[in-house]
């Protein structure tokens, strides 16, 4: 009886906690993208204020924002986690990475 209850508890926590985690990651990715957009706008404005031509300022601002834009996706986060996991303890096969 105790075992069944424990298994049910583990399953429930995994489903509930996993959903919450996924939502939190998605929400922080959204916030991160907004932050990058704001940063890139400030970057562009400051370049323009210093006399850099419009087209070049745009190119530089895009090259500034691009790496963060690549990281701020679910795949990018998995890649980041894999890089953090030095000892290869987390199996990435289920995620197809």
């Amino acid at each position: 009886m105790g075992t069944a209850r424990s298994i049910a508890s583990i399953t429930g926590t995994a489903i509930g906690g996993g959903s919450k985690l996924l939502f939190k990651v998605w929400w922080s990715l959204r916030k991160g993208r907004a932050e990058v957009k704001k940063g890139a706008k400030t970057f562009y404005k400051t370049l323009r204020e210093n006399g850099v031509p419009e087209e070049e300022a745009k190119q530089i601002a895009v090259s500034y924002a691009q790496p963060a834009w690549d990281v701020l996706s679910i795949r990018g986060i998995f890649r980041l986690v894999r890089e953090l996991d030095e000892d290869n303890e987390i199996p990435m096969m289920p995620f197809g990475i």
């Binding site: 508890s9 922080s28 704001k38 204020e49 006399g51 500034y64 691009q66 790496p67």
Partner: protein, 148 residues
Amino acid sequence: MNNKLSDEYSEEPEKKPKSKSKPTDARYREKSDAEELKEVAEALPELFGALNDAIPKLISGLIGSVYSPEAAGNMAAGIGKFYSGLIAEGIPEDVALDMTKKFVGALDFSKLMSMVGDETSVEFSTKRKKRKHRDSDNYDEDDDEEFE
């Protein structure tokens, strides 16, 4: 006859524990599995709680350090000053733009991101190593208790 009886009586208590030993082992194993599952069930919410805290912090820290409006303004001001300085020194606009682009290319923002990522990974790995060390210490203590 008495001797035989006494032998039989004396053997009985020795046999009983042998016959009882198997069920107690199975019961112990069952109990330990149940306890293990209970421990996992208790630890899982903590694990999810830690992940819920750690991942948003990692993302906001990674982005905030390079892409906050302040950091972006400072970086762009540096690039802009480089460009305006070149123009002020009398370098033609085309050449100054080319030099500024090369300067920005040398900055390499993706490298900057990976550097920040490495820093956070160092923080994470030291925390993990500390946790591992603590866990192994606890494990050793448990082992000692078992052997005692």
